[in-house]
């Protein structure tokens, strides 16, 4: 697609439920990132994929959070046993390979707003 696509745009769930958020990056972008943005805060890094593998998952808050990118394109962020504190906008971004045009630029999707009741 032309840009980074995230679905769903809005998700309301109950505490304890399981949630999946999907990200479809820009075609040809090898790197994919997940961030979380809470109200009044800047985006907080969660995990970064280079190809199919997670190159850096140091930002995942705990083992309830997991992300996959099985074919090196679409990624899914999975949250188990959701808690009210997980409510936030989850942002996905992708970037082109190093050395290409737009080095250092992350292209963000519009985010998935998660509300845990």
């Amino acid at each position: 697609g032309a840009g980074v696509s995230q679905t769903p745009s809005n998700k309301v769930t109950e505490k304890g439920k399981y949630v999946e958020l999907r990200c479809d990056p820009i075609s040809g972008h090898t790197a994919l990132y997940w961030y979380r943005q809470s109200l009044g805060q800047g985006p907080e890094f969660l995990i970064y994929f280079q190809g199919t593998g997670a190159a850096d998952d140091s930002g995942l808050p705990n083992d309830r959070f997991f992300a996959v990118r099985p074919e090196g394109s679409v990624s899914t962020l999975k949250i188990q046993r959701t808690e009210r504190g997980d409510s936030a906008v989850y942002l996905c971004a992708s970037s082109s390979p190093p050395g290409t045009a737009n080095t250092g630029e992350l292209f963000f999707g519009e985010g998935s707003r998660l509300t845990v009741l």
Partner: protein, 114 residues
Amino acid sequence: AQSVTQLDSQVPVFEEAPVELRCNYSSSVSVYLFWYVQYPNQGLQLLLKYLSGSTLVESINGFEAEFNKSQTSFHLRKPSVHISDTAEYFCAVSRNQAGTALIFGKGTTLSVSS
């Protein structure tokens, strides 16, 4: 550890006035610095970046930022703002040019009124 501090959470200005959005960072390693902008109901997008070379970098819509190593700052400026510049602005630092593990500030809301 690296961190970014945006000193102003909200900056209200009148149209055609100059503006400065302040950003300070801390890092023990070489840094690459970015400003991202989020217009209402849109995703974050890159405004400008400093990777190396000239310390003054410019965007296509008239913003500029200067990397000041001694003051660990990367303030964003525009000599004359437009209503359409109303947005939230985020300063970010990265340990590498690929932009992995960007660390963002809390953001500054710029509100331009007529």
